[in-house]
């Protein structure tokens, strides 16, 4: 299977710090690739470089064979329809002065799509329903929503243009555990039902294991290990991966099966 995204030799410095130091990996169509690491490991910078929200000092990113790193403006705009990002704190990425309906409709406006009367509103309502938000939320504003609902709004907006890839940067880190599970299940369903590839960036080893087909472990700007999730968690090869896994608190006695 040919890769949807090919990342090769990606490098980026901030002042004297090399945040990303020669990172290469593929994202296959429809898979979930987890990128796990601690603060300062370079995982968020890698995500931003992938989508060209930051410029790389060296290396390249190809999306469906096309060079994202060197794409001209018009091509980049077209590529961005296919690659969307959601963030840890959806509030900071949602315009507080605009209603949720108009936030979710924004990608249509930017790309001049669905201009017929009522078309856009219908599409937005479908998207909102898709992520579990009722039509009654259409005219509300972000501050009226809980963290979990805001993450749903961000996801509805990301889905608007039917992307082939979503990059999610710590999408559930700010949420309570019961709400986390709602959002994780939603992301899993989207992948299963629509075949969207997901790059999940997280510091949480349990979340990454649960969600991912393959996992990359980042440390000090490099990928130190990349493997199928089952393999990586069952028999980690790298000393740093082992140290990370040993640090995760265990819930002592195992509870009865609950699925």
């Amino acid at each position: 299977m040919s890769a949807l995204v090919e990342v090769r030799g990606l490098r980026r410095r901030f002042g004297r710090v090399t945040a990303v130091d020669g990172v290469s990996f593929d994202v296959r169509p429809g898979e979930t690739l987890g990128i796990v690491g601690e603060s300062g490991s370079g995982k968020t910078t890698t995500a931003r470089l992938m989508l060209r929200l930051l410029h790389a000092d060296a290396g390249e990113v190809r999306f469906a064979g096309e060079d994202v790193t060197r794409a001209g403006r018009a091509r980049l705009k077209a590529l961005r329809r296919e690659m969307q990002m959601i963030f840890q704190d959806p509030y900071s990425s949602l315009n507080p002065r605009r209603s949720v309906g108009s936030i979710v409709a924004e990608p249509f406006a930017v790309h001049g799509l669905l201009t017929g009367p009522g078309e856009r509103r219908r599409a937005v309502q479908e998207l909102m329903e898709r992520v579990g938000l009722g039509a009654e939320h259409y005219n509300r504003f972000p501050h009226e929503f809980s963290g979990g609902q805001r993450q749903r709004v961000g996801l509805a907006r990301a889905l608007a243009l039917s992307p082939r890839l979503i990059v999610a940067d710590e999408p559930v880190s700010a949420l309570d555990v019961s709400i986390q599970a709602q959002i994780l299940n939603l992301l899993r369903d989207l992948r299963r039902e629509e075949g969207i590839a997901l790059v999940l960036i997280s510091h949480d080893l349990s979340v990454v294991r649960h969600m991912s087909d393959r996992v990359a472990v980042m440390h000090a700007g490099r990928i130190v290990e990349l493997a199928d999730a089952d393999r990586l968690y069952a028999s980690p090869e790298h000393e740093y991966t082992r140290r990370l896994l040993q640090s995760v608190p265990r819930l002592a006695p195992s509870s009865p099966s609950s699925s």
Partner: protein
């Protein structure tokens, strides 16, 4: 006798929307030298419970909090200040909220010593170095002159714990002490707290949203929901035989390294209720998959679980039904 005994604690805040009952009838006790974990999601009242006991929240406070026989809630602000930082110390999530950025760590530590003990500056500084060493800061004699920003997050949290230990408290309250830290650093801080607790026989109340942290550190656990304790148990009993449907929901919502990867997460539907207009009856009933009609009206009390020493639950389902439901697959 318990070191700290909280009885019928109620805390109410006035908000624009009306009075908000953040804590509603919480009773708990902490034995000397034991670790109590208070676990709950945001808004459950877990922090407010601890902070109100320490006289650190505004609002209307009712109930009693006996610490070695004295009611903390009846102390004057002056008396309370003497207890705080001396017999009871607190560590917060963000050390920068408690460490002043302009002063060297050692000076702040020495001041914490001198507030409660009549010692010379030189002796206080020596004590500061000793405390930093005790909490595992490498090269304490040099780090004592560092400013907070020159230390990593983990080192700052160690410095905060050192400050909390300055006066040999009998009780340490730790409010999400590892939430802002990386997982490898979290493991070190939890090990440090465990070691200090064992070596000094200090009691700890650890407040956290993370059941993993509770499993690592706590002897006993109280699970809070919507301002009330819904379940209390020795830690191994809570994980082996949880009794409250909310606790089940938390356990089933969590991805875990020790269960098969394919196991589906079962989220708790809906959201925690408003504490300005809490639901009648059992507060969890609007989200509970096992709700029966009477549960919408009758408020459950925290009652002992028959045949399970130290385990208590506030649930209107009868014990045999609960045991059966927990073994069944989630609905």
């Amino acid at each position: 006798m318990a070191l700290l005994e909280v009885e019928g604690l109620r805390v109410r805040f006035d908000t624009e929307d009306g009075p908000l009952q953040a804590v509603d009838g919480v009773s708990l006790s902490v034995e000397a030298g034991r670790v109590l974990g208070i676990v709950g999601e945001s808004g459950s009242g877990k922090s407010v419970t601890a902070l109100a006991t320490m006289g650190l929240v505004p609002g209307r406070i009712e109930g009693r909090a006996r610490f070695e026989g004295r009611d903390l809630l009846a102390l004057s602000p002056e008396e309370m200040r003497r207890v705080r930082g001396h017999e009871i110390a607190i560590v917060f999530q963000d050390p920068l909220s408690s460490l002043h950025p302009f002063y060297r760590v050692g000076r702040q530590l020495a001041e914490a010593v001198r507030v409660h003990q009549d010692v010379s500056r030189r002796a206080a500084r020596a004590r500061a170095v000793e405390l930093l060493g005790l909490v595992g800061v490498p090269e304490p004699a040099e780090r004592v002159d560092a400013y907070p920003h020159q230390l990593s997050g983990g080192m700052r949290q160690r410095a905060m714990i050192a400050m909390a230990l300055a006066n040999d408290p009998r009780l340490l309250i730790a409010d999400e002490p590892t939430t802002a830290l990386d997982v490898t650093v979290q493991a070190q801080i939890l090990a440090l707290l465990r070691r200090l607790q064992e070596e000094r026989g200090m009691a700890i109340v650890i407040i956290t949203h993370d059941l993993g942290v509770v499993a690592e550190l706590a002897d006993d656990v109280a699970v809070m929901y919507a301002g009330q304790i819904v379940e209390r148990a020795p830690v191994e009993r809570l994980f082996a035989a949880p009794e409250h449907p909310y606790t089940w929901g938390l356990l089933r919502s969590m991805p875990r390294l020790d269960v098969p990867r394919e196991r589906e997460l079962v989220p708790i539907p809906g959201r925690p209720p408003s504490l300005v207009h809490p639901p009648g009856g059992c507060r969890f009933h609007p989200r509970c998959p096992y709700v029966r009609d009477p549960h919408r009206e009758v408020e459950p009390a925290l009652e002992p679980v028959p045949g399970d020493e130290g385990h208590a639950v506030a649930c209107l389902l009868d014990p045999a039904t609960r045991r059966r439901l927990w073994r069944e697959p989630a609905p």
